[in-house]
Amino acid sequence: MNASAEKAIRQDEAAPISHRVTLVEAVNLALAREMTNDESVVVLGEDIATNGGVFRATVGLKERFGYKRVMDTPLAENLIAGVTVGMATQGLKPVAEFQFMGFIYAGFEQIISHAARMRNRTRGRLHCPLVYRAPFGGGIHAPEHHSESTEALFAHIPGLRVVIPSSPQRAYGLLLAAIRNPDPVIFLEPKRIYRAVTQTVTDNGEALPLDTCFTLREGDDVTLISWGASIMETLQAADRLSEQGVSAEVIDVATISPLDRETLLCSVAKTGRAVIVHEACRNGGVGAEVAASIAEGAFLDLQAPVVRVTGYDTVMPYYRNEQHYLPQVEDIVAAVEQVIAL
């Protein structure tokens, strides 16, 4: 168990303590916080109990909350997805971990056909207050299938919320919100930045809203829109641009679906230009929806086409070439230069 998680777990309940934590530690804090607040929260997945998860996100929870609320499951993602639905219909609030996003696909039928529809199907008689967590994205030199970023597949499914934090603070606040939300949430954790930065997080149980983008940096000349690990490169690009005298607004979409179009449109109304950055492949990515929404909703404001800086339309390469797949700071800067030139 890492030190800060341990401290968090042993803490006196009364006084909210501030921690300098990484993103993955913030996930752990939020889980522990909400399991303390709410007895109906349970956690399940492969290797999440005794081992604390392969990324250590659930470390210490079994020791603290017992094996009945922190369950290692057999190796079957479809089962995990479906068991979670069953639990949720009975008023538990299960938080299931998929070890990597690349292994969630076996659970698609349960997620699409049941988790997302139980409330609608029963006209509210039963519903699914559940969270499916998964580390996602590339760049950690992992084997095949360990670098997926297919958030677009979930974003297209009515009845699901898709949430992606990109900082320790947002991981804490958004995960609390996701667990408390009475509907199913796909909570994708950008593992490339699991430990990239530490931030002070006050473990006060305060959730963040699930229906709004976060404006990380204000600017006038162009709106940079991103989410997940790519936020890092996007912010760096904004720095770089500012040195060049270009003032970039940076928005972390964070709540990928339902999408907060207002914030995006307001920003573009101001800047007149938008560049979208995401790691997923371009064709049919969430960037397409964002671009289409802006192109439709801000048609008269746009001074240049909305440009997407994304992964290539191919399978994420094995690790020797993965950096060539991922959008780089230079790619973002180049795209901005292109739209500014127009």
Binding site: P74, G86, Q90, R125, D183
Partner: protein, 360 residues
């Protein structure tokens, strides 16, 4: 050096095709009231079934899967379950749902293409709605059973599925979890010999369906699904185990799908009239009726009353169903989330206008 592992599994039936006992009957046979209630429910389920098929033929209901041949299994399940147990049905469980207290009007609405069919359910509010994607309900069932275990409740889950469904990972994975976690769940496979046009013999190479229990370390039982006593006894036994914290059971109830797969199917394309005729000889409703007659619990007058009673009940429900106006179109977004996300506000407005303006 060899060690041998052995597994056994019994097939049980009590009544012959004519309804005469082959063996001493289980204790529950002494309860004449229960037997009569069972018989009444079977007849009610069949009456409703025939009516829905008629409605479908006249365009007043959608595609519908008949319960014909499943009434005994469903009735035995419904009787054995406690009110606080949870039922996770598939789509041929009308007989159980009647006993659980799902209103007939809801069943009609459901097959009539109206989501309100699965709403309400005051008598069994935690029961799952019908699961259309085959076998997926098995995973929910073990999830619900796990929730009961987590909360230390003495309740159980019963999940039903067809023989075809046993080929799908959801069932097999769930059986495994039920064994690993020692869950209070009963899997009842209604083996009606067909999965649409696919015969039992093409579905799996296993001698029995029940033996699939062995893969998860669960006990399995095979019963004649047209034998009320055999099914009831197996159900009671399995539910006792579940309620007593002794774990899960798989029951294979062997029957025959006496109707087409659904009203959209034509079974004469793939199975013989002979096979169907001989299956009718084993019909479990007739069998229980004969038994009741022989045992002095039933007679022609009661039968006549029952038939009239069932027709009447069904007609009343059908009347309410047919009178029901469809939901307003905006309902399609109102139950997606607990509260409407702002991104859907515009779409909801358009839907709301649709009705007022009368636009399709």
């Amino acid at each position: 050096m060899k060690n041998r592992y052995e597994f056994t599994m019994d097939y049980v039936r009590y009544l012959d095709d004519a309804g005469d006992p082959l063996d001493e009957l289980p204790a529950l046979a002494a309860d004449a009231g229960r037997l009569i209630d069972a018989y009444r429910n079977m007849v009610l389920a069949r009456t409703l079934d025939q009516k829905i098929i008629a409605l479908q033929r006249t365009g007043k209901c959608g595609t519908y899967p008949s319960v014909l041949g499943h009434e005994v299994i469903g009735t035995a399940i419904g009787q054995c379950m406690d009110r606080h147990d949870v039922f996770a049905p598939y789509y041929r469980d009308q007989a159980t749902q009647l006993l659980r207290g799902v209103p007939m009007v809801n069943m009609l609405l459901y097959w009539g293409g109206d989501e309100r069919g699965s709403a309400g359910w005051e008598l069994c509010p935690q029961d799952l709605p019908i699961s259309v994607p085959i076998a997926t309900q098995c995973c929910h069932a073990v999830g619900i059973a796990a929730a009961m275990r987590i909360r230390d409740e003495q309740r159980a889950v019963v999940v039903t599925l067809g023989d075809g469904a046993t080929s799908k990972g959801d069932f097999l994975e769930s059986v495994n979890l039920a064994g690993a976690w020692h869950l209070p769940v009963v899997f009842v496979v209604a083996n009606n010999q067909w999965a649409i046009s696919t015969p039992r013999g093409l579905q799996t190479g296993s001698e029995t369906i029940a033996q699939k229990a062995i893969s998860g370390g669960l006990p399995g039982h095979i019963v004649d699904g047209n034998d009320y006593f055999a099914v009831s006894e197996a159900m009671e036994h399995a539910l006792d185990r579940a309620h007593g914290g002794k774990g899960a059971t798989v029951i294979e109830a062997v029957t025959y799908r006496l109707g087409d797969h659904t009203t959209a199917d034509d079974a004469t394309r793939y199975r013989s009239a002979d096979e169907l005729r001989s299956a009718w000889d084993r019909d479990g409703i007739k069998r229980l009726q004969s038994y009741l007659h022989h045992a002095g619990h039933w007679d022609a007058a009661r039968e006549k009353d029952l038939q009239a009673h069932c027709r009447d009940k069904v007609e009343k429900a059908v009347h309410v169903y047919l009178e029901k106006a469809p939901e307003p179109p905006a309902a399609m977004v109102d139950y997606l989330f607990e509260s409407l996300p702002s991104s859907l506000a515009g779409q909801r407005e358009r839907l709301a206008r649709k009705v007022e303006g009368g636009v399709s």
